[in-house]
């Protein structure tokens, strides 16, 4: 049962964006459309799984003295490989994500998980943790871009990241009510701010309820 907990916590309890506030740079920048969010999520999942697995495999071999530098080299190599593969096989997605694919290297989720989890746990646990965290990141990024695209363009559209021409679903019901602010950077900050406020609201309410229960 413990294994499932590792996986589950990455999704909600310790969601990398909403709870740990890691990787905000890319989370705000690429959430202008669901396709970008899905593509970025997949890239982060790939890099995170590979880096967690490799680092947990090597954790006993890496001299403790130079732990962080070696992690940085491993992660940078993996990210560059993913970047080249995306450039070759998913060119449309590669163009729209732009500089934020190489910026995954400094995305704190990867280095953070490598340092705090992968370097201390077994391969299977690290894999599950990476999967949980990666899906948590993708879920969070999809939620942000759901609101931003819906409010910003009055519609939603999801293309197949591997083949830009194939539309999975698309509708723009109320495009006259679109608030274009939300596709711009300002909207990203406000959207994420409101989502975090909502989560904090739920947490505060839960604590109050627990306190009342104790008082009774």
């Amino acid at each position: 049962m413990k294994k499932f907990d590792i996986f589950k916590k990455g999704l909600f309890i310790e969601n990398p964006i909403f709870v740990l506030l890691l990787g905000l740079c890319s989370a705000l920048a690429i959430t202008t459309s669901l396709t970008n969010a899905l593509g970025m999520g997949m890239a982060v999942i790939c890099v995170l799984i590979m880096s967690n697995v490799i680092i947990s495999l090597l954790r006993n071999i890496i001299p403790n003295e130079i732990r962080i530098p070696v992690f940085i080299v491993i992660i940078a190599t993996l990210v560059k490989c993913v970047q080249m593969i995306m450039n070759a096989y998913t060119p449309a997605l590669y163009e729209s994500l732009g500089v934020f694919i190489p910026l995954i290297v400094v995305n704190c989720i990867i280095l953070g998980r490598a340092e705090s989890f992968a370097s201390k746990n077994g391969v299977v646990d690290s894999f599950l943790d990476a999967l949980g965290m990666g899906l948590g990141y993708t879920f969070a990024v999809l939620v942000i871009s759901f609101f931003r695209e819906l409010i910003g363009t009055g519609g939603l559209s999801l293309f197949n990241p591997f083949d830009a021409s194939q539309v999975i679903f698309q509708f723009s019901a109320f495009s006259e009510y679109a608030v274009s602010l939300f596709t711009q950077p300002a909207g990203a900050f406000i959207t994420l701010g409101c989502i975090l406020a909502f989560i904090q609201f739920l947490k505060v309410r839960k604590e109050k309820k627990a306190k009342n229960a104790e008082v009774k």
């Binding site: 506030l21 890691l22 905000l24 740079c25 890319s26 705000l28 920048a29 530098p69 940085i72 080299v73 940078a76 190599t77 990210v79 560059k80 970047q83 080249m84 500089v99 190489p102 910026l103 290297v105 400094v106 995305n107 704190c108 280095l111 602010l181 711009q184 950077p185 300002a186 909207g187 990203a188 900050f189 406000i190 994420l192 701010g193 409101c194 975090l196 406020a197 909502f198 904090q200 609201f201 505060v204």
Partner: protein, 190 residues
């Protein structure tokens, strides 16, 4: 004249934090005291300026010549990390008081998206050396201005009666959003 418009463009118009999202993590993490924000700004300005020149030179005179341009990402991240370690060591040795003010921020700069972002942009935008140096100066100055202003606002946020669920990071993000609106307002300047 073209360099001046590049400078203003990078400092204000497409400011690194508010419209390119490069350094959001430090923006939220920066302390509430404007003086500390400025210290962090100086550290970041020095590192980005030197890093953007060094990475530009290495890319154009080493990677391109040896035809190993696929090593650009790993070269940049290692150069930036080495630079940060060197600066930290240099400060520890020569001026403890500056180290006390800026020391805690230096390790954060390695994972700062702005430093790597500027290095990558200098190459993808095809700048020459002077333009890369100007960008290496304009971007961190824009960053410093934003985090300084942001720190002063956050001081007042603590005493403002913010709704319970908005306290802390949410209100900081909303404030950053409003600042981004202001910066977007002068988009047509350059």
């Amino acid at each position: 004249m073209e360099l001046v418009s590049l400078f203003i463009g990078l400092t204000f118009v497409n400011n690194v934090v508010l419209s390119k999202f490069y350094a959001v993590c430090p923006l939220l993490g920066v302390s509430k005291k404007p003086k500390n924000a400025l210290n962090m700004g100086y550290a970041v300005t020095f590192v980005i300026f030197v890093a953007s020149i060094v990475t530009w030179l290495l890319y154009n005179y080493v990677l391109v010549k040896l035809e190993i341009t696929y090593l650009d990402l790993i070269t940049f991240i290692l150069v930036i990390a080495s630079l940060v370690q060197f600066v930290e060591m240099f400060l520890k040795k020569t001026s403890p008081d500056i180290y006390k003010a800026m020391g805690v921020y230096l390790p954060l700069i390695t994972t700062n998206c702005a430093v790597l972002g500027v290095a990558l942009d200098n190459i993808s935008a095809g700048y020459n050396l002077i333009e890369a140096a100007v960008a290496g100066l304009a971007v961190p100055i824009g960053f410093t201005i934003v985090i300084y202003v942001f720190a002063t606002i956050r001081e007042r946020l603590d005493i403002a009666n913010v709704p319970e669920s908005f306290k802390g990071t949410p209100i900081a993000l909303i404030t950053a959003g409003i600042m981004a609106c202001a910066i977007a307002g002068i988009a047509g300047l350059v």
